[in-house]
Structure formats: C-alpha cells, structure tokens
C-alpha cells in the first residue's frame, strides 16, 4: 500500500517474475508428468497449456497495474532524466528494497517454512510432494495477492478472489482425495447455487448500502411453509406460488419499513425475520406433533431440481445450477447494461445525485428488498427439494454466509460499488474453501472458525476505510 503506483523498474521486475513463475511451474508439471509415466505428447501439451495460461493470466493481471507513465509524460524533461537516473539506481537494489519493505511478510513466510519443516519431521508421511507443492501454491497465491493489492488498478477484489479461488482449488485437488471428482464438483456447484441464489438479494441490497438479515429466516420459513402447504393437499405448483408471494410480501414489508430507517435496516430486517419465522412456525405447529419441523413427501420434480444426481434435458447436471447460471448472467447483464442497473448504482453511489436525476430512491430501495425476499423464498423452496423435509434451521448458515460471500466478493458495504459477478466469485471461494476444509477433516465448527478468521483479512485487503484525518 505504500506505493500505489509502481516505478518502471518494479514494473519490469514483476513482469519478468511472472515469466519465471510460468517457467518454473510448467517445468515442475513436466517433471511430474514424466515421473508418473504420462505419454510424452500429453506432457508437452499440458506443459505448454500451463505455461501459456499462466503467462496470459499474468499479462491480464499486469495490464491492470497502476503504472506511473502518465505522470511522467506531464513532467519536465530534466525531471524525467532525474527520475530515470533514480530508477536505474532503484533497479539495482529493487530486490533488497523489497526485502527491506516487506520485512514482516518475509519473516512470516520463513516462519511458515520452518513450521512446515518441523511438521515434516514430526509427522510421518507429511513430507510428500503433494504437501510441498501445495505449500508452494500457497506462497504463490500470497505473492499474487500482495502484488495485486499493491498495484491493481481496478477490480482488485475480483482479481484477488480469483487468485484465492484458483490457489484453493489447486491446493484442494493436491491435498484432498477426490476433490476433483465429478461428484464433489457437482455437489460443490449445487451448494454454491443455493448460496448464490440467496446472495442475489443480498448483493442488490448491499449495492444500495443496506444489509438484509432476514434472508436466512425467509429461507427457513419458506422451507417449512411449503412443506406444510403440500401436506395440506394443495397442488405443489400453487403452493410454490403462494410461498413465493409470501417471500415477495416479506421483502416488500422489509423495504417499506426500513426505507426511513436505512441506517438500521440490518436490525429491522432481523426483527421482520423473527416475526415471519415465528409466525410460520406457530402456524405449522397447529395440529402437529413436531414443533418447528414438518415432514412429508416432496414432489419428485422438485427434488430433481435440487438434487446432486438431478438431470436437466437428460444431461446429468443439477437443474438448480443451470437456474443459477442463467439468473447470474441475467443479473450481471441487467446491472451493467440496463437503465435499471445504472440507476441502482446511481442511488447506491450518491443519493443526492440520484435524486437530481429524478431516480426514485424509494422505488429502488423497496425493489431490491422485494427481490431479496423473492430469491430467499426461492432458495427455501429449492432447499426443501434438496433435503426432502421441512426444517426451519435450514436457513441458519445463510444468515452470515450471504454477507460473507458478498463481502469476500468485494461489493462495498457502503453501496454503489461491486456487482453480482463479484458475489459469484465470493460464493465460489467460500464453497471451495468449505469443501477444502471438510476434505482435510475439519468439523463444521472448525469451518466456521476459519470462515470467521478469513473474512477479516479479505475485507482488510480491499475495503479499508480511509483514515479519519483524510476525511476532514
């Protein structure tokens, strides 16, 4: 963060660093392929592919770096000369400069290496190539993160999210057996779809600078509400429409009530969530033996939509994934290219400006909450298809995960910055991370702990507020 713009020397240094990394990784992959006895044609193919993709990725990263060329052209010639002279001097000692300025990071990395070595001595079967490689991948990810954080021009969070995603994915596939099996990928996508759907509303609300805590409650309420209605013997399609209407209603109430209380939308939606869950639970408990849970038979087509082994048009992809992808594309396009999306950013960015453009703040505020209610109810319905029995606690994890995904993706909680594309990355990161943590044998509680610890540095990387003295 010290130098937001890099000098010419640093620029070329990092550019070449990418090249070196590409060479090293492709060499490693070639050697590994040779050791495993893969046919030489495949080795060459993969090596070239890896080399090419890394170089492309690095290039993609580097074009986004802030490079202070523009400033230089505006300067006087003599100053330019001086700076070039400085730069060349700078270039000589750039590595030592880097070491000096990143003392703590280097100490940390050294500590990690020492810990790794210690573990290798302490535990049997620890020192194998998978673990070593994943350590290397981990360091590379860190390196990319640091570079991106210092020099990326825009979309910093998306780049970093992608880096984390790829790093995690590689590490997962190295360490966890069956991580890249079709089944695991499918189930990861399935859960990511649930989270992603639930995040649609949250993203839009956050874009306007609010937070919606009723998501998990609406999911739970929709879940048991639908089961209850189906048990009453009403045709499932009508039930689903009714539940979706309920979701829309809750969203509408959220939006209308919180419009004047925008700073406290968080708490207000929490209250509304409590009301709706309590109400639905109380209603479903009447004449039932089980408080809070409803059992019954879920229609086949509904469970097909949300099951890991579900098929769509004969292809064995869970239909919910397709639904999510379609909705995501529609939403991303809508946010970027329609008047509605533009206006949304305008309202989120600056209320006064938006009002000057005669954009109704109320319409957009209520609108995003309504959409939020709708997608939450939808998620609840689909979760019923997945679980096969109504349980109100099914929404529990989504209370904070939706916020975590939005934040990790990089949508600013202050509103006006970000988008659903970012959230998709955030969702995937969370999902891959949780699969990874499950894979290395961490319990649900352990995952929660790690999630909690993860959010903070992720946000700290790109959503720091300016120092108070710069706000005056």
């Amino acid at each position: 963060m010290k130098t937001s713009r890099m000098g010419k020397a640093a620029f070329s240094f990092y550019k070449w660093l990418g090249f070196v990394i590409a060479v090293i990784i492709s060499a490693i992959s070639a050697v590994l392929g040779y050791l495993e006895g893969t046919p030489s044609q495949l080795i060459i193919l993969y090596t070239v592919a890896i080399f090419g993709s890394i170089l492309w990725g690095w290039y993609h990263l580097s074009v986004r770096w802030k490079y202070n060329e523009d400033e230089k052209t505006g300067l006087a010639v003599e100053q330019l000369d001086e700076e070039i002279a400085e730069d060349s001097e700078y270039h000589e000692s750039y590595i030592s400069y880097l070491i000096k300025s990143n003392k703590f990071a280097i100490i940390g990395i050294l500590a990690m290496i020492i810990a790794f070595v210690a573990l290798a001595f302490a535990m049997d079967n620890f020192f194998e190539w998978r673990n070593v490689l994943s350590l290397v991948v981990f360091f590379l990810t860190l390196l990319i993160l640091i570079i991106t954080n210092s020099f990326a021009k825009n979309n910093k969070s998306a780049l970093m999210g992608l880096a984390v995603l790829i790093g995690l994915f590689i590490m997962g596939s190295l360490i966890v057996d069956g991580f890249i099996s079709t089944l695991n990928l499918k189930s990861m996508l399935l859960f990511a779809s649930f989270l992603g759907l639930a995040c649609i509303g949250q993203t839009l609300v956050v874009l306007l600078g609010g937070l919606d805590l009723s998501v998990s409650f609406v999911i739970g309420a929709a879940n048991i509400g639908l089961m209850y209605l189906i048990n009453l013997g009403i045709p499932p399609s009508i039930c689903i429409i009714a539940v979706l209407m309920l979701g829309i209603g809750v969203g509408l109430i959220n939006g209308l009530l919180s419009f004047r209380l925008q700073g406290q939308a968080l708490i207000l939606t929490l209250g509304v969530g409590f009301i709706i869950t309590g109400l639905v639970q109380a209603l479903t408990t009447i004449g039932s033996d089980f408080g809070g849970s409803v059992f019954g038979v879920v229609p086949k087509w509904l469970s097909n939509i949300a099951a890991t082994n579900g098929t769509i048009f004969g292809i064995s992809i869970p239909p919910i994934v397709v639904i999510w992808v379609i909705l995501a594309i529609v939403l991303i396009v809508a946010l970027k290219n329609t008047t509605w999306g533009r206006n949304l950013y305008a309202v989120g960015g600056n209320r006064t400006t938006a009002a000057r453009l005669s954009i109704s703040e109320r319409t957009y505020w209520v609108g995003v909450f309504t959409i939020g209610g709708f997608v939450s109810a939808l998620t609840g319905i689909l979760l019923l298809g997945w679980s096969g029995g109504g349980f109100v606690g099914v929404g529990g994890p989504y209370l904070f995960q939706t916020i975590a995904a939005v934040v990790v993706g990089g949508t600013s909680l202050l509103g006006g910055k970000g988008g659903y594309g970012f959230t998709v990355i955030g969702v995937l990161v969370l999902q891959v991370l949780s699969s990874f943590l499950v894979g290395i044998g961490l319990s649900y509680e352990g995952q929660q702990f790690v999630f909690g610890l993860l959010i903070l540095p992720m946000v700290a990387l790109y959503a720091r507020s300016p120092h108070i003295r710069t706000q005056i």
Partner: protein, 731 residues
C-alpha cells in the same frame, strides 16, 4: 437562580427514554396481572438472576454502540459463551477455584477480546460490523470446539447464586456495582468524548480528542461488562453451554434497540439498556403465563421481532416527540407511571381477589355489568386524576396550586360518591370463590367500594360509614400525593407552587401515621381499620417517592441521572416492601389456609369504641395477616443488615435534601422537615413490621454519621454548583 427557574424548558436530551419507559410499565402491569407471582421476593429474585446477564450484555453493547460507526457488536453472545465455556473447562481441569481468579479470568478475556477488536477497527480500519461478524463466526466455531455440548459444573461457591430465592444475591450486587460504575463513568471527560465521537467523529478528531484511544477505551469497558455478563450467565445455568451465544446476541441487540439507543452512535444510556433488557424479560414472562403448548418458543421469537420492529418505527417519531412533548420530561412520565404500576402490582400481588381467578371474574363482570372490581377503580382513578390534573394544569397555566388542589379534592369526593356501591350479586361472590369476607378486609379490595356494599348488604351501621370514610381518605391520599408530585416535578411550575405543594405534602404525613397505627391494631387481631395495610402502603410508598425525589426538584428532572435515581428509588421501595414479607406467594397461602388456626375472632370497631355504642358485633372468620412480617424468622440476617443499611442511606439522602450543606448548623434550619421525615420513615418501617428498637438504632446511627456522609456527597454537590455556574456563564 430565579433566572434559571423562569426559563422556558428546552427539550430534554433524554426524551427518547419515554418510549422504553411507557413500554416497560405497560408490560409490567400486564405481567403482574397475568402472573402475580412475579411480585414476591422469589419472583424478583428469579427476575434478577435471569435478567442480569442480559442487562450486562446490553451495557456492553450500549457503550460500544455509543462509539459510533454503527458498531453493533454482534459477537457479544458468542463472547459470553466463550468466557463461560472456557471457565467451565478450566475449572474442570482444576484451575481457578477461587472467585478472584475467576473474575480476573472472565473480565480479562472480555477486555482482551474487545481491545483486540478495537485495535482491528482502529488500525486495520475495517467496518466494525464486519469485525464483529467475523468475531461472531470464529467464536461460535471455537466454542463448539472447546466444549462440544452443554455440560460441566460451576464452582461450588457459585451454586447458591443461581437459586434466585432471595432478592439480595451476589448477582444483584454485581449488577448494582456495574450500574454504579457506569454512572461514575458518565461523570468523566471520557464520557463526553465518547458521546461526541459517536455523534460526529470528524468534529471530535478536529477538536483534538484522541479518537483511537476513546474507541479502544469504549471497547475495553464493554469487555468488562461482557466478562461480568459471562459470570452471571454461568451462575444462572451453573454449567457451560456453547450454543447460547446466538440467542444472547439477538436478545441483547433487541434490548439495545428497545432501550432507545441510537445504533448510529452517540445516544445511549445504562437506564435505557436496563429498561430494554427488562422489557425483553417481561415479554418472555408474560408469554409464559399463556399456554401456547409447542408454539411457545415461536410466539416468543415472534414477539421479540414485533417489539424490535415496533420500537424501531417508534424511534422515527423521536424528533417529532422532542418537538411537541417539550414539557413532558421522562422523569415525570416515569414517576406517574411508576406510581400507577406500583398500585397495580401491589394490588395484584397482595389482594388474592385480584389474582387470576378474580381477573377472569372481572373480565366476565364487565360483560354482565357487575360492579367494577377494586383494582380497576384504583387504576382508573389514578390514571384519570393524573391525566385530569395535567389537563387542568395546561388549561389554566397560571392558576395557583391551592386552586388545583381544591379542584382535585372536589373531583375525588365526587368520584367517591358517584361510585355508589351496588349490592354485589351473589353470583359474583360465588364465581370468585370468595369464601371469607374477613380476608377482604385485609385486602386492597376495601380500597374499592365493594366492602362497603358488602357490609351494607348484611347490616347498616356506622361501620359502613367508617368504611367509606376511610376508603375516601385512602383515595384522596393517593391522588393528593400523585398530584403533588406532578405539580412539583413539572419544570414549568413556579417556585411558589412548589412550596405550597411541599407544605400540603407535609400536612398529609399524619394521615399516614394514623394509618400505620391502625394497621398495627389490625395486626394484633382487631379487624378494625379498613384503612388496610396495602392502602396506606401505597400512600407511604408514594410519600417516600416524593421524599426521595425532592432533591431532583432543584435540578428539574431533565437528565438521565435523576431519572436513574428515581428508578432506583422505586426499585428500592419495592425491595423494602418485600424484605419484610414472607417469600411464599400470597395466593398459595390464601387459598390453602383461609382460616388461620381456625380462630374465630370477636372484634369491635375501634371507631365505635371511641364513644358510640356498638351497634352490631359480628363474628367473622379471620384469615390472619396476609403479610406475615412480624415473624422474626422470616427475615434473614443478610436482609436485616441490608435493610438497616438501606434505611441509613435513605435517611442520609433526606438529610442531604434538608440540609443542603454539610454541617449541623444548617440542619437545624430544617428541623421540622427532618422531624416529619423521621416520623414518616419510622411509621413506614414500624408498619411493615420492623421492631421499634431497630428503628431507633437506625435513626441514631444515621444522625450521628450524617455529617461525614454529607462531606463525601458534598464533593459531588460542589461539582454540580460549578457546572451550574459555568452553564449560567455560557448563557
């Protein structure tokens, strides 16, 4: 001084407290009517035990929220759980047997965690809500790792804490110390900086305050409260529970909002937090008196939500309120509602006929146009008079106090006459299972006019006249006191009016003394006075309220500190009221042993004894005094000592009022007030069953030690004067 008195009152900064106050009293009335069990020392003991962790957690939240930047600490619940679980596990391993180590551990962990959070907020500069979110997730996970399921044992010395049988328990002491610490803190410069930072951080930074330090300080203090909350939580459940965190977060946030704190920062108070937490408890309590079966938990959740949303929406009206209700100070609202609530509470608890059965009967009776029950008369009477006097006051702004007093007395008399008692129907008595008339003489229902009608239906005599006279005196007394307090507390009231009201107040004290004497008679077995224990108990309580709140008259109740003193005094009075009583709920006693020892008592009316020939002698079944307080065994040593200390403190407060300065010389100027006060206090304590020697001892100790205490208090008084002077100077 005159200049300040005549100034038009500005909108009180704590007007926002009116909402939680009104909600609190409405809930309290509802709760006591639904479940009178609450009004017993057991009920209050349980209340304190259950609500203490929530109150302390809300304190922690409040002080952190006040620092601004919308920093609602969502991780408070898991933090409490974390301290609790860690404590239990460490004890299980054999560490931390002693209370000191335990307190140090709990507070240390709380402070360490909060300071860490603050450091992240300050130096990493991430939004506080994200930091707390992150802490929430990590701690919830960590708690379950430390202790996968609820279990473990609290240390032995902590077992008694969670029993909740007595009002005075270590938990209460923790609570009081924590609250007192808050108010001491509120006197410091740090507090001012904190409030300023919450309102406008940039301005605070520009004016040279080290905002980082203030924020870290707020978090550290929040950590202390969180640690205390964890200790009381542990004593409540006597074990470890890793899963309670989520509930506590939601409850504490709800309490915070219910207490009227501004989530954006800058506005919040311990009093609001206290009220908010109590409101949460009262909702749960009221709902638990209904039988919802399996729906219970859901209905409770739902009503939390409703309260949260409603109080948030009400907060929208605060600016409007501050504009319109300028003359309405929260202190006034609190006092008036407090008196009404006390009346209802005492009635609900002490008068078995106002128990649940009677309440049902009353509901039924309103449909069949049966005579109103006593409780409603009192309720409507007090409410009506309070409202009336306020209306009168606003109608005739410049009318003199004596005029108002006269009108009030007139209204009361008319009121008492209008409610000409009809004969209660036999079905009414039968439906309420009112087997003993005698019990009724002891109960509050004589306060209403049913007893008159009962006696008049059986025989007409001077008895009836005496009954109605005493009833009227009772009602007039209550109303007079209420109106006096209103008059004196109103910031607009002139000094002259205030003085008149004070004199009137002094004149009514003898009534109370007479009542006390008659009660003593009644206690001896003479069912003489219809001026029953509860009637004059209310009078006394009201009088005490008045006495205690006189010091506030000087400063015009418009700040929260005074409000707090008012609240504490009401609570203290309730405590006094129950110290002397048996902890067994009255209803059970009343319903099981109606005829004590099967005694059949012969009595003659004392009024009649005074000269007139007794016209009728009635044999009546006597239920025994409802408040079994003369029995020395019913008071433990702890409560006796506490009670003596309490009396001494109260006396000191009064002396401080009377003297205004710190020497005996100034004391003599007000000797008449002091004498009256001593009589009033002694009357009260004598009446509720304290032996005479105790009272004398207390008075002696109090008078001798008064100047020293005055000296300590005077440091605060000097500060107060200085502030006044500065305010004057600043215009």
């Amino acid at each position: 001084m005159e200049l300040i008195e005549t100034q038009k009152p500005k909108s009180s900064p704590s007007t926002y407290l009116i909402v939680p106050i009104v909600i609190f009293f409405l809930l309290f009335i509802f709760a006591t009517l639904r479940g009178p069990y609450l009004i017993s020392s057991t009920g209050f003991g349980a209340l304190i035990i259950v609500v203490a962790p929530l109150i302390l957690a809300t304190y922690a939240l409040t002080i952190i929220v006040m620092a601004g930047r919308a920093s609602v600490d969502l991780s408070i619940g898991p933090l409490i759980s974390f301290v609790n679980v860690g404590m239990i596990q460490l004890i299980g391993l054999g560490f931390m047997e002693s209370p000191i180590a335990l307190f140090a551990y709990a507070i240390g962990v709380g402070v360490a965690y909060q300071v860490f959070m603050a450091l992240i907020i300050v130096f990493v500069r991430v939004q506080p809500i994200i930091v707390s979110l992150s802490g929430y997730l990590s701690l919830v996970g960590l708690n379950l790792i430390i202790m996968p399921r609820a279990g473990g044992l609290a240390p032995d010395w902590m077992y008694d804490w969670g029993a909740g049988i007595n009002i005075v328990s270590p938990v209460l002491i923790i609570l009081i110390v924590a609250t007192a610490a808050w108010y001491l803190l509120a006197q410091t410069a740090f507090w001012g900086n904190l409030k300023m930072m919450g309102s406008d951080e940039r301005a605070t930074y520009t004016s040279g305050v080290n905002v980082n330090l203030v924020r870290i300080g707020a978090h550290a203090i929040g950590g202390v409260y969180a640690g205390l909350a964890a200790i009381t939580f542990t004593s409540l459940i006597s074990s470890g529970d890793p899963t309670q965190g989520t509930t506590y977060t939601l409850m504490a946030v709800t309490a915070l909002v219910l207490g009227g704190a501004n989530l954006a920062g800058g506005r919040g108070s311990a009093f609001g937090a206290l009220l908010g937490s109590l409101n949460i408890f009262l909702i749960t309590y009221s709902l638990s008196t209904f039988n919802f079966g399996k729906m219970q938990a859901f209905i409770t959740d739902m009503s939390y939500g409703v309260m949260l949303v409603v109080s948030l929406l009400i907060s929208l009206a605060i600016p409007f309120m501050q504009k319109r209700a300028r003359g309405l100070s929260p202190g006034l609202v609190f006092l008036v509602l407090g008196i009404i609530t006390l009346g209802v509470a005492v009635h609900a608890a002490m008068d078995q006929s106002m128990g649940i059965k009677r309440f049902a009967a009353f509901v039924a009776s309103t449909e069949t146009e049966d005579p109103l029950s006593a409780g409603t008369i009192i309720l409507f009477g007090v409410v009506g008079i309070a409202v009336l006097s306020y209306i009168i006051k606003t109608l005739f702004k410049h009318i003199s106090a004596s005029m108002i007093g006269f009108i009030i007395v007139l209204i009361i008399t008319a009121f008492g006459l209008i409610f000409n008692p009809d004969t209660p129907t036999e079905s009414f008595i039968a439906s309420t299972n009112l087997k003993t008339i005698g019990l009724d003489y002891y109960s509050m229902s004589v306060f209403g006019l049913e007893s008159i009608s009962q006696s008049s239906s059986t025989y007409f005599s001077f008895n009836a006249l005496a009954n109605s006279t005493y009833t009227l005196i009772g009602i007039i007394g209550v109303v007079l006191f209420t109106s006096l307090i209103i008059l004196i507390m109103l910031p607009e009231t002139k000094v002259q009016t205030k003085r008149t009201a004070t004199i009137l107040f002094i004149c009514t004290i003898p009534i109370i003394a007479i009542g006390a004497l008659f009660f003593e008679n009644a206690n001896q077995g003479y069912l003489a006075s219809n001026f029953s224990g509860e009637t004059y108990a209310i009078l006394l309580v009201t009088a005490l309220l008045f006495t205690i709140t006189i010091p506030l008259v000087k400063t015009k109740i418009n700040n929260v500190n005074n409000l707090f003193i008012g609240a504490i005094s009401i609570l203290a009075l309730i405590v006094v009221y129950f110290f002397a009583t048996d902890s067994t709920p009255i209803h059970e006693v009343a319903s099981t042993s109606i005829v004590v020892a099967g005694q059949v008592l012969d009595y003659t009316d004392p009024i009649i004894q005074t000269g007139i020939e007794p016209i009728a002698t009635q044999i009546i079944e006597y239920a025994g005094p409802m408040r079994v307080n003369t029995n020395a065994q019913s008071m433990t040593i702890v409560s006796e000592i506490t009670y003596c200390i309490f009396m001494v403190v109260l006396l000191h407060i009064f002396l401080r009022l009377a003297m205004g300065e710190t020497s005996f010389r100034s004391f003599w100027k007000y000797w008449h007030i002091a004498t009256f006060a001593v009589i009033a206090w002694s009357g009260l304590f004598y009446a509720i069953g304290v032996p005479l020697w105790q009272i004398i001892v207390v008075i002696a100790i109090a008078i001798i030690s008064a100047p020293n205490v005055m000296h300590i208090i005077s440091t605060y008084i000097i500060g107060e004067h200085r502030d006044d002077a500065i305010k004057k100077w600043e215009g």
